[in-house]
Structures are given as structure tokens and as C-alpha cells.
């Protein structure tokens, strides 16, 4: 029997699809990204999610931190990576199987980047299911998706601006010019204007009968976009089905290509990043490079980990945090260097206990890892380390973070901001 939510979601989707069919614009929206040095506006920094900023700090110690229990509502849930815009750090506490969405109030918090004072925390009773994105430049609208399929827009003062009922558990949105792209757990890619208007919905990639399947049939990741279009990846939860489906669309929602990748050691779509000549996709513990025009596979790199995080990319290398941090050649996927993560295998011999996993920001020849950085050319430590006392000394309850990063950093020109599974939000400058 369908739940009310499923019926609503299905109805809503049909309506939106109809709109798209009638005349969704296929022209590319204006999307100049000015590469700010004072902001990290979306999880992947830019629409391509390269995770590459023009500048970042050259050293740092902990400047301030906001503990998870110090706010109301508290910063519980799986903490998203932060985004930074207009002098404010935003982060969300995502509902998980441990912080169940039906009895957990997800926080969305705004913290003053300079002082660390908490500006506001909004609670979402239905549970948030992805991290925040800031859209619209100075207006500073923070957009975040919920388990109930609602995409919420909140002003820089914490007041609700609009909400769009898209249906399905929503992932982390990305901003492309004045629009947002977000995937839903029902297997759809949505294009939404920064004013909350629905532009188009691309239908689920799998068989239609999956509409009648489980409530949350699909694993998602954050879409990425460039001037050619938008890229998405979905994995049906049903293990008998295909592995990860990666899709390329134009900005009007027309599918350009579709590729199925069979990730070794896991099929979760853990992240995308696109450049002029390649779309990089992490699937389970494997990194792929695809042709962004055809979806054709160029190379793959099996890390051996059960999971690897979203890739970042500079002119020469792709950086991926799995158990270890890897730098791979963009040309052939060959390993250029690694930072060995010395965390011991857990009792069940799974090597993913306290792995890196986070998207590793890259800026001006440095790759940022937890509270420190390594040289992008050879992986040597510039500062910080896994043995940093403040990072390690905490009464970890590892299970909820099993397949999530312990610490997720982003950078601006002069600081690292990170969320930490135990320490909350931290500024290193």
C-alpha cells in the first residue's frame, strides 16, 4: 500500500514532468561563478564541485569551536560539511538510521565566521537529509532538503523564505547561477529556481514499477553542473538491480547520456566532480573518470576501501579520501601519492574505521585534510596530523560515523572551517 507521502510525491512528480514536457527552457542559465576567496557556498565549492578554491590558509591552529551540545536545538545528527558565505558558516545535522527522522529534530545552524558566535539554529522536525547550499549571491539564501521531500529556503536571518515540495528524501543541492539542482531518493533530478519555482524534473532512471517500491528506493549524491549541463548519479537500493547509474543532462532536463558503473566494494554514489575533459565519480570504494560528453569510461581506481568520498580536482590530479587520502593522475588514474591513514582495522576487519572519506579541499598547491594540510604535489604534511590530540581525544561512539567522515573541512582564503563528529564546528586559522 502506498503511503500518503508516496502518493503525493508521485502526483507532484507527474505534474512537474508535464510542465517540463510543455516547454522547459533548454537554454543554459547565466551561471558565472566568481571563485570567491571569502566563501565556500556549496558543498563542492563551485557548480562543478571541483573543491578547488583560489586560496587557503598556509598554517593554522584552532581559532574557535562550537560544541554539539551547546546550541538549542543541539547540533546532533550526522553533521554535514559546512558551507561559508557572507561571513557566516552554515551546517546541518542530517537524520540517519541512528538519528531517526521520525523522532529527531534536525538542526540548521548559522555561526559567525569571525567570532564563532551562534547566530541562529533552526530545527526541522521531519529531519534533514542533506547538507546546505547558498544560492543567490549577496541575498544569502540557504537551501536545504528534508526527508519529507521539501526543499527549504532560509534567509540569512534564519527566517523561512520558501519551501518546495519535491517529494522523496532530498540530497544536498548544488547551485548553478540562479537555480538549484537536487536529487531525490525517489530517483529524480530536480531543477528549482532560487525563488523556489520548479523548472523541471528529470524522471527516475530505473524501471517505472519502482514507483510502487519502497519509500526510499534510491541512493543519491549531489549533482554537479557546467555549461554543458548537469550530471547526476543514483543507485537503486535493490541489490539485484543495476549498480550506479550516472546520467548527463542538458540544462533543459534532456538526457544526454546514461552510464552504468559497477563499483567494487560498494555501490553508493559518493560524489561527482566535473572538469572540461572528465567527469569524476566515486562509487563505493572506486573512483572513475568518464567522458563528460558521452559517459564513456576512461579509467578506474579501486581503493580497496568499502567507501571513498567525493573527489576534488586541480590541473594535474584528482584527490579522494577513502581509508587513505589519494592523489591520482587525471590522465590515467595512476596513484601519485597517498597519505596513509594509520587507524587500525576494526574488529570485523573492516578498514573503514575512522577513515578520511571527506571531500578534500584543494587550494594553491595544498590539499586540506582534517585540521591540517598536505602538499598537493607530493602529499608531504605541511601542518596538522591524524594524531593531533584535540582531534583524536574524544569519546567516540564510532558506529554512527562508520561510513561518514570524522571531520569535513572547507577553506576560505584565511581559514579552514570544519564539522567534526564529536567536536561540532571548528575554525582553524
Amino acid at each position: 500500500m502506498l503511503s500518503r507521502r508516496e502518493v503525493l510525491a508521485a502526483g507532484g512528480a507527474a505534474l512537474v514532468s508535464g510542465v517540463a514536457g510543455c516547454g522547459g527552457s533548454s537554454s543554459a542559465p547565466d551561471a558565472t561563478f566568481d571563485a570567491p576567496t571569502t566563501a565556500w557556498p556549496t558543498a563542492g565549492y563551485d557548480p562543478q564541485a571541483t573543491g578547488r578554491a583560489p586560496d587557503g590558509p598556509t598554517e593554522g591552529t584552532v581559532s574557535w569551536s562550537v560544541s554539539r551540545s551547546s546550541t538549542d536545538p543541539p547540533l546532533y545528527g550526522a553533521l554535514s560539511a559546512p558551507v561559508v558565505a557572507d561571513g557566516t558558516v552554515y551546517l546541518a545535522g542530517v537524520a540517519t538510521h541512528y538519528y531517526r527522522p521520525d523522532d529527531f529534530v534536525s538542526p540548521l545552524a548559522a555561526v559567525d565566521a569571525a567570532s564563532g558566535s551562534v547566530r541562529w539554529v533552526e530545527g526541522f522536525a521531519d529531519g534533514l537529509s542533506g547538507g546546505p547550499a547558498v544560492v543567490g549571491g549577496d541575498s544569502g539564501t540557504v537551501v536545504i532538503g528534508g526527508y519529507d521531500g521539501a526543499l527549504h529556503a532560509v534567509g540569512s536571518d534564519g527566517a523561512s523564505e520558501w519551501s518546495a515540495d519535491l517529494g522523496g528524501r532530498l540530497g544536498t543541492p548544488t547551485a548553478y547561477g540562479n537555480r538549484l539542482y537536487v536529487e531525490s531518493g525517489s530517483g529524480r533530478l530536480h531543477a528549482v529556481g532560487s525563488d523556489g519555482s520548479r523548472l523541471w524534473t528529470a524522471d527516475r532512471p530505473g524501471p517505472a514499477e519502482r514507483l510502487l517500491g519502497p519509500d526510499e528506493p534510491v541512493e543519491t549524491t549531489m549533482p554537479v553542473a557546467d555549461d554543458r549541463g548537469v550530471y547526476a548519479a543514483f543507485t537503486p537500493f535493490d541489490r539485484e538491480r543495476e549498480a550506479v547509474v550516472v546520467l548527463g543532462y542538458d540544462h533543459g532536463g534532456e538526457r544526454r547520456w546514461r552510464t552504468v558503473l559497477d563499483g567494487r566494494y560498494g555501490r553508493s554514489p559518493n560524489g561527482l566532480a566535473v572538469t572540461d575533459d572528465a567527469l569524476y565519480a566515486t562509487v563505493g570504494g572506486t573512483v572513475y573518470a568518464l567522458d563528460p560528453d558521452t559517459g564513456e569510461q576512461r579509467w578506474q581506481f579501486v581503493t580497496g576501501s568499502a567507501a571513498a568520498g567525493p573527489p576534488t580536482v586541480d590541473d594535474e590530479r584528482v584527490y579522494v579520501g577513502a581509508k587513505n587520502l589519494y592523489a591520482l593522475s587525471r590522465t590515467d588514474g595512476g596513484e601519485r601519492w597517498r597519505v596513509v591513514n594509520e587507524a587500525p582495522p576494526s574488529h570485523d576487519r573492516d578498514p573503514t574505521a575512522l577513515p578520511y572519506l571527506a571531500r578534500p579541499p584543494v587550494a594553491d598547491g595544498r590539499v586540506y585534510l582534517r585540521t591540517g594540510a598536505v602538499d598537493a604535489a607530493d602529499g608531504t604534511r605541511l601542518w596538522g596530523g591524524d594524531a593531533d590530540e584535540w582531534l583524536r581525544s574524544a569519546n567516540y561512539f564510532a558506529e554512527p560515523y562508520y561510513d561518514r567522515p570524522v571531520a569535513s573541512p572547507v577553506v576560505t582564503g584565511d581559514a579552514v572551517y570544519l564539522t567534526h563528529a564529536h567536536r561540532g564546528v571548528v575554525k582553524v586559522a
Binding site: R264, Y265, G304, G334, P344, P345, R349
Partner: protein, 407 residues
């Protein structure tokens, strides 16, 4: 006190009866020892005679070939010489043999040395949670337990040293003793320890655990593991000479012979690399197995080689390839591996654990053709699922609360 001395006649009788029954059963069910003939491209069988007559590690020599000199291999049909009870509710691992002594633990709380000729216990000592197979070299016996690596005087059982924190698991890599160094895969690194003191000579971390027993040849140790790479490390300081990327975790041992390094990956691929350069010489894709309507890669568990053939135990198969180019030569579909099964080869003969109705039989195969020379069934007292080890004219197995010698 020796069990062999008390009841030899009865055991020999049972063993020979069991053998006869197994042969009969095999005759009825032709699939038991079915072999797949080659397409005819398999090069001539021309093995290299190794010098070793002991079985010092889980797969014999430090090169992990599972191969021994012809003089170490018993001729003709095997019968049980003696059986020594090693009572345990946990399990056994592969016995190792050196200087006419067999070393075995009970995976629980005891480590024993047994006289290879008589089956008499030489010494027994308590040891908590021994896990993979021991290794022995130059009078030092090395055992990895859940929490530590231990070294004992092989002659007396007296403790030489102990390294806390360098533990292993039942499915994990076994230690290797080569020259004056002990190699242990523990945590997320390969550890080279001084054989005499246990001090760390060097440590090479990949960030991943390894269940793959490393192989040592000359001044190079070859390693693999969940990291997916095969690496050649300088035994002196751990410096990486080369590394080769594969597409999956490597759980089976590394083996090296005649300048070729052999591994099998979790993707069901067997690979041969040039030991000097790391260049891939050939690869062979094992036929996937069908499970629940899906085709899954066959998992290589053990690799052995006699310098002419490569023997790969993968789930329910023994697949034999030509060392020179990876051409498939023959298969045996009666292979029945457990958590600690191996392959032994010598004098043109291959010894493997196989299955029968009682569970835990063993089979002797002709290395050149794959033809079955002998099958010996297990019974309620003795199984042959842990092993084999071949040394000094005897074949050793463990299983079902006992260690047995055949010749």
C-alpha cells in the same frame, strides 16, 4: 605419552577402510574428481626441483610455493602413520614441520611440538589465542596470536620474545621466517622483525589490513592485501622496488618462483608479474561462480607452484595454469577448502583437501595430468581439511581434534 603407541593398528585399519570406501564412492559419482581437459595449448610439464625438505611456513618455503623436494614426498598410496589428538573446540591451522618436528596449535590455549617420526609430543606450552599457521626457521618458532607475535625456542618451547600489538586473525596472513628476519602482516602495515630479538627492523604501512601471507625471495619481500597492490620491498629497509595495481583486494598468499610473482585477486583474476620489474606477464580470469542467479568472481584462496604449473585453490576448484603464460592446464572440481586449507606439491604429485560425504577427505593428484592417484576419506575421528604439509617423507593434516601423518 603417545597416542600412536597405544592404538596404531586400529587406526591403520580404519584409515584403509575409509580409503576403500572413498574410492568406491568416487566411482559411483563421476563428478567428484571430474577434470576439465585443456584445449591442448598447455606447455609440457617441466617442474623445477626445489631444495627444501621441510615445511617451514603455511605454504612451505618462504617463497610460499607449497613445493618440496622429491625426497620429501612419500611414494605410493598413503596410509596413516600416526594420529596425535589436539583437542580443541575452536579449530586448527596448518601444521609446520622442521628438523623432524611438527608444530601445531589449537587456536585456543596450547602450542605443541610433536616428533615427526613417532608422533610423541616433544613439548607443550600454554599460548592464548594462536590464530594463523606458525612459521619456523633456524630454531625459532614464530606464532601470531590475536594480540601479539611470539617467538619460541623450537627445540624446547621456551619463550624468546613477544611483541604486543602485532596480532593477527584466523583468516589472516601467516608469519614468514626468512634468514634473520620475521615478516608479519598486522594492523595496517607489513612488519619486519629481527628474528633474534623481535625488534622492528622496518615497517611499511599501506593503511589497510592484509590477509595475504607475503613471500620472500633473496633480498625482496613481496606483499599484497586489501590495498589491491602487489609490492616488492627491499628486505633490508622496506624500500619499495616496484608496485603493481590490481582491481581488487588480494586475500590469497603471494607466491614467487623462477622470477615470477603470483597472486590472485578478489575479482577472480590470477596474475603473474616479473619479479624484477613488476611488469605484468599474464593474467587468467577464473570462471565466475553462479550464486543466487548472479555470477560472482571465484575467490582465489591459495596459490602454489612447482615452477612449471600454478595451482590456484578458488572456492570449490583447484585450477592449474602454466607458469610461463597463464594457460589453463587442468581443473579439479573436488577441491574443498576450509579457512586453513592449502596445496602441497612435489615429485610430480599434488596433495589437496577434497570433499566426501563425511567431509574432510584428501586427494593425491598427478601434477602433469590432474588424474587422481588416491583418495582418502575422512571419518568421525580424522578429517583432512586443514593442511596439507609435506616434509621429510610424510604428509601432515589437521582436522577434527587431531593431527595426522601419512606416508
Amino acid at each position: 605419552m603417545t597416542d600412536a603407541g597405544k592404538r596404531p593398528t586400529r587406526r591403520r585399519l580404519l584409515a584403509s577402510l575409509g580409503s576403500a570406501a572413498a574410492v568406491g564412492a568416487a566411482g559411483c559419482l563421476g563428478t567428484r574428481s571430474e577434470r576439465t581437459p585443456t584445449s591442448g595449448e598447455c606447455p609440457e610439464y617441466d617442474p623445477v626441483e626445489p631444495a627444501t625438505t621441510d615445511w617451514r611456513g603455511v605454504l612451505g618455503p618462504a617463497t610460499n610455493t607449497g613445493a618440496v623436494a622429491a625426497e620429501a614426498v612419500p611414494e605410493g598410496d598413503l596410509t596413516i602413520d600416526w594420529t596425535v589428538p589436539v583437542e580443541t573446540y575452536v579449530g586448527h591451522h596448518v601444521p609446520v614441520v622442521a628438523d623432524d618436528t611438527v608444530y601445531v596449535h589449537d587456536m585456543d590455549d596450547e602450542l605443541s611440538a610433536v616428533d615427526a617420526e613417532t608422533g610423541e609430543r616433544v613439548w607443550t606450552r600454554p599460548l592464548t589465542d594462536p590464530e594463523p599457521a606458525p612459521a619456523v626457521g633456524d630454531g625459532t618458532l614464530v606464532v601470531v596470536t590475536r594480540e601479539a607475535t611470539h617467538a619460541f625456542d623450537a627445540a624446547t618451547g621456551d619463550r624468546r620474545w613477544k611483541r604486543e600489538g602485532l596480532g593477527g586473525g584466523i583468516f589472516g596472513a601467516s608469519p614468514i621466517v626468512a634468514g634473520d628476519t620475521v615478516y608479519v602482516q598486522s594492523g595496517v602495515a607489513t612488519h619486519a622483525l629481527a628474528r633474534s630479538t623481535g625488534e622492528t627492523r622496518w615497517r611499511a604501512a599501506t593503511g589497510f589490513p592484509s590477509d595475504s601471507t607475503p613471500a620472500v625471495d633473496g633480498d625482496t619481500v613481496y606483499t599484497a592485501g586489501d590495498d589491491t597492490y602487489v609490492r616488492a620491498l627491499d628486505t633490508a629497509d622496506g624500500t619499495e622496488r616496484w608496485r603493481a595495481k590490481t582491481s581488487a583486494r588480494i586475500g590469497c598468499n603471494v607466491s614467487v618462483v623462477e622470477g615470477t610473482v603470483l597472486v590472485g585477486t578478489g575479482a577472480g583474476t590470477v596474475l603473474g608479474f616479473d619479479a624484477e620489474t613488476g611488469e605484468e606477464r599474464w593474467r587468467y580470469r577464473l570462471e565466475p561462480r553462479r550464486a543466487g542467479g548472479e555470477r560472482r568472481p571465484r575467490q582465489p584462496e591459495t596459490i602454489a607452484t612447482d615452477g612449471s604449473r600454478v595451482y590456484v585453490a578458488a572456492d570449490d576448484r583447484l585450477v592449474t595454469l602454466a607458469l610461463a603464460d597463464g594457460t589453463r592446464c587442468w581443473d579439479s572440481r573436488s577441491y574443498a577448502g576450509s579457512y586453513a586449507s592449502g596445496i602441497a606439491v612435489g615429485a610430480g604429485t599434488v596433495f589437496v583437501p577434497t570433499q566426501d560425504d563425511s567431509g574432510g577427505a584428501m586427494t593425491v593428484l598427478d601434477a602433469a595430468t590432474g588424474n587422481t592417484r588416491q583418495e582418502l576419506a575422512g571419518d568421525e575421528r580424522q578429517r583432512f581439511d586443514i593442511g596439507p604439509s609435506v616434509a621429510g617423507g610424510g604428509v601432515y593434516f589437521a582436522g577434527r581434534s587431531a593431527v595426522v601423518r601419512l606416508s
